[in-house]
């Protein structure tokens, strides 16, 4: 896995801030690992956006990846939903999320298979988002999530 991004698309300003942070993180990684020259080696880093930029104030608490017997990647992202407070509703939030997969050269694998899924998350719940690569060619992923 090269890395992943967790993005919120609802608020453009916030999303841009997240992108900026990610780009900076990427630059830091480049300068320290590559020492000023280009290489075919994939950048081995994991990028996590700040908690506040996930929809509904959710925080990523765990990420796990696995490769099964037929070389298919699966990923699991655990996000903690904030507890409800006296001025917030106890109603669950509905999120749309999807995983997009890329091969070793960065080309998207089976773009048509990136279906948005719905998930209902209750306040204080640890929500688990799982994705399975559409083929053994997939080596990297992108996780998109937004409030419905």
């Amino acid at each position: 896995m090269k890395g992943y991004h967790v993005m919120k698309r609802d608020f453009i300003a916030r999303a841009l801030t997240v992108c900026g942070i990610l780009l900076l993180a990427g630059c830091c990684s480049h300068s320290s690992e590559k020492a000023g020259y280009l290489s075919d080696e994939p950048i081995k880093d994991v990028r996590i956006s700040p908690d506040g930029y996930l929809p509904g104030g959710m925080a990523v608490v765990d990420i796990a990846t696995n490769v099964n017997k037929i070389d298919v990647y699966s990923v699991q992202i655990v996000a903690l939903s904030p507890e409800s407070s006296w001025f917030e509703s106890d109603d669950p939030e509905v999120y749309n999320y999807r995983f997009r997969w890329f091969d070793g050269q960065g080309f998207e694998v089976e773009p048509a298979s990136a279906v948005w899924r719905e998930k209902i998350v209750y306040p204080g719940e640890r929500a688990v988002f799982t994705g399975v690569a559409p083929s053994p060619a997939a080596a990297d992923f992108l996780f998109d999530i937004r409030e419905k």
């Binding site: 099964n68 298919v72 298979s113 948005w116 399975v132 419905k148």
Partner: protein, 208 residues
Amino acid sequence: MKKFIMLAGVAIVAAGCGTAPHTIDTTTSEGRIATLKISPQDFNEAADFAVQSMLNSPQFTNYLKQYQKDNDDMPLLMLGKVVNNTTATINMPVLTERIAEKLMNAGVVQVTTAVAGDGQLKDQSSADIRDLELDDNFNIDTVQKRGTLKAPNLSLSGAIIQQEITEGRTTEVTYFFSLTLTDNRQGIAVWKGNREVGRQATQSWFGW
């Protein structure tokens, strides 16, 4: 009176408003028509769920690995009958063709088009072409020989079941997708997946 006429005019104009046909994102439920009925998005999600579950299933991946080891080939999948136990008219290939496409593109199975269950897409050409041996207009050497078609050894079957309950003005409908992959050598299921899609609606006092 003038105000009333103006308001009535505005209301009539507004009532006549519509939207021009436009392209929608078929990969999401956002902006789609929401009803109690089974929707195109439900099939899309059910197919996606099924394939992800298959590719992540220890039993199915064990079967694939063993089949590859024994035969140095991929199993041949037949799209069998998926029973429609709902009140809706369903073109089952909407679900099964997506599953077949994803499994084929994943490089884990081959899909036969020569034989298929009721309601599935089947290419009659493989059989029709062989009947050309009786037609003098064709060079017999170019006609496909009989006994060369490969029989499937893996099949997809299942059902979509509708359950409905009503209490007062509230109706709840659940669509239950149940799919099975069977290893036809022994008739043993190598994967089973069930998914429920639930919808609820409350009718207004005025019946709208």
